[in-house]
């Protein structure tokens, strides 16, 4: 991992278009180097379904159903699991709110808070002899709902200053709980036994968040798709563990700020800090910005980093950090990262980049679209990038999808699995 301060992350679309022969060769060569690296996190083999969900053989699941509280918890609601001929997959339609059935914001929020409460209760009374996969599935679900909540709060914050409604401590407690869940998840995977202490989740005051969300959604009209995100792009524990371990191996001084972008990259700072804790390192300060091309639609309008931050922070927060570690779930154009760097309020000394997934050689039309461009191959070489992404091949300049309208193959796979089950 090298400092990328001397390089432009995003190269202009016209430059990519005029030199596609050269850039595509460099992209392919980098993609091949990614493919040649080992992919699976060693202790996670067979625990995860291809969609990233934890899975347990059906026979085992029904064998332990009588004595396992967690098995009963999953089985008690059809939205909590998907059953195939051989497996019980521990992510159901509730995990992906709105993917199968579109509800209004109020119904989504009710489901969200009732699932969080139920999962917290399960974990507070966890039996140490529980099945390890069911435990990991439970942590995975709670973490997912808390990330959805965190993103919903950040989204609400754009309309109504959250600082007036929610104590900063409560906001930070939510972040702390997510970090701790990631930590116990990683430790359990590493030690192949349940590692858990219920104390950290006791600080989570769910009713506070529920009151804030209820108040706001009654007052203002929200598009349920924006406030409750149905699919988090980087949600595969196999990939997250491997990525976080790779980043945690690197040295960063204590004055390095981790920056990630919602919604796809929202989990990454938590995962990296959890992996650092496991290695005996201290956690690094982090901030999640809403700057993404796809979620904000028009990046041209963002001319001030304040617009991309939760209201507990201002641009001044960045002034104490001259070194940043940028984490993103996927990189194609590099425009989000470039925009962030360009808007950073002080002159940076060091910029490091970690990206979970990359593949550009099949995205020609996406890259040559005006104002898009492509990531600089030198930046790829300097970053930590572990996996190829799941984006489909593009065919038209003004469409991000393939001929069947699919953009993200993994999302498509999840939707198909849920539909089949229902």
């Amino acid at each position: 991992m090298r400092n990328i301060i001397n390089h432009r992350v995003n190269l202009p679309s016209r430059l990519i278009q005029e030199n596609w022969d050269k850039y595509s060769t460099e992209y392919v060569s980098f993609e091949n180097s990614i493919l040649s690296k080992p992919k699976r996190a060693p202790n996670l083999n067979y625990l995860n379904h291809t969609t990233g969900a934890y899975q347990i053989p059906r026979k085992t699941f029904y064998k332990i159903l009588d004595r396992s509280k967690l098995a009963k918890y999953f089985k008690s609601n059809e939205g909590r699991f998907v059953e195939t001929k051989q497996k019980v997959i521990l992510r159901g339609s509730l995990y992906y709110p709105g993917m199968i059935k579109s509800l209004n914001v109020k119904e989504h929020c009710q489901n969200l808070f009732s699932e969080i409460s139920a999962l917290v209760n399960q974990l507070l009374e966890l039996d140490r002899n529980e099945n390890i996969v069911l435990f990991l599935g439970t942590i995975d679900c709670l973490k997912n709902y808390l990330l959805i909540l965190l993103n919903a709060l950040d989204h609400i914050d754009k309309r109504q200053n959250l600082v007036e409604l929610l104590n900063r401590n409560d906001y930070e407690n939510l972040q702390f709980t997510i970090e701790i869940l990631a930590y116990f998840q990683f430790r359990t995977i590493k030690n192949k036994q349940i590692e858990w202490s219920p104390d950290p989740i006791k600080i989570l005051n769910i009713h506070t968040y529920q009151n804030v969300v209820d108040k706001i959604i009654l007052r203002a009209k929200f598009d349920s798709e924006n406030i409750i995100r149905k699919f988090r792009e980087c949600n595969n524990p196999q990939k997250l563990v491997r990525f976080a371990e790779n980043i945690a191996r690197e040295y960063f001084s204590q004055d390095t700020l981790i920056v990630s972008f919602s919604y796809g990259g929202i989990e990454l700072p938590f995962a990296v800090n959890a992996a650092r804790m496991i290695r005996g390192k201290t956690t690094l300060p982090f901030i999640v910005c809403s700057l993404s091309n796809y979620s904000v639609r028009n990046i041209q309008n963002i001319s001030d980093l304040n617009d991309s931050l939760p209201s507990y922070y201002s641009e001044n927060y960045f002034r104490q950090f001259h070194k940043i570690l940028i984490l993103d779930d996927s990189v194609t154009t590099g425009k989000t990262i470039q925009t962030f760097i360009d808007l950073y309020p002080i002159t940076l000394k060091e910029i490091f980049l970690g990206v979970v997934a990359f593949k550009n050689s099949n995205r020609y039309h996406h890259l040559i679209r005006p104002f898009n461009g492509g990531i600089n191959p030198i930046v790829l070489d300097s970053a930590i990038i572990i996996f190829p992404n799941n984006y489909t091949k593009t065919y038209k300049k003004f469409s991000y999808t393939n001929r069947s309208g699919v953009f993200d193959k993994e999302k498509q796979k999840v939707a198909a699995l849920l539909k089949k089950f229902i």
Partner: protein, 226 residues
């Protein structure tokens, strides 16, 4: 008719960007050697830095410490691979400098009346191209920033001048042959600022040579055609 231009020193005074690019490479690698020591001035090349031979001699053959620094940085010991990666690094830093430079500064480096001269050539259906020993991406970045990119039918840069790992740079006529193949017509004129290399290149390619630098008024240089 196909009129081909040299880039550095002819179309633009780009030395500053190349120099900054190379200085950026030295800084990034962390060497104490200076650019003047690694790539010393050669009168016949003017300030043409991006020469495969010069990079090999300057970076890899002069100083064993520098070479080992490069081998560690790029994680390879292969000479050709090292040179390619040094060039890639320099290319990326140069592109950043060009992209982040003020537009008026860039426009001040362009040859006088170049744009109207090129537009006149285009209205008369001349084909225009650039053959340069600099990277094509660097030339293109310059053309994009100065809004000249649509006025050239083709740009050939350093990366187009290789057969396997062997660079067939000017005055070798290889570039003119590639251009002929791609555009379907031979080069009629080559306009360059190097009275030795560029002239020989034109001669080897059986085309006419026109001497011009970025200081000249391109409307008068190309007056016979427009």
């Amino acid at each position: 008719m196909l009129i081909v231009f040299d880039f550095d020193g002819t179309i633009a005074k780009s030395t500053h960007f190349h120099r900054c690019g190379w200085e950026g490479v030295l800084k990034e690698i962390g060497t104490l050697s200076t650019l003047d020591n690694i790539l010393p001035f050669e009168p016949n090349l003017k300030e043409r830095f991006d020469s495969y031979r010069r990079i090999r001699e300057g970076f890899l053959q002069k100083d064993a410490v520098l070479r080992s620094q490069l081998e560690i940085y790029f994680n390879t010991k292969k000479q050709n691979e090292l040179i390619k990666r040094i060039m890639n690094l320099k290319e990326s830093i140069t592109i950043k400098n060009i992209l982040e430079e003020e537009t008026f500064v860039l426009l001040n480096t362009i040859a006088l009346n170049l744009k109207p001269a090129l537009m006149s050539l285009k209205t008369k259906e001349f084909k225009t191209a650039i053959i340069s020993s600099s990277r094509r991406t660097i030339v293109n970045t310059f053309l994009i920033r100065t809004n000249l990119v649509d006025l050239f039918d083709m740009v050939l840069g350093e990366e187009d001048l290789y057969i396997n790992y062997s660079l067939k740079d000017k005055p070798n006529k290889f570039a003119a042959d590639v251009l002929k193949k791609k555009l379907g017509m031979p080069m009629s004129y080559y306009i360059g600022d190097n009275d030795v290399i560029d002239r020989d290149f034109a001669l080897n390619s059986r085309s006419e040579f026109i001497y011009a630098t970025y200081k000249d008024d391109m409307l008068s240089i190309l007056g016979n055609f427009i």
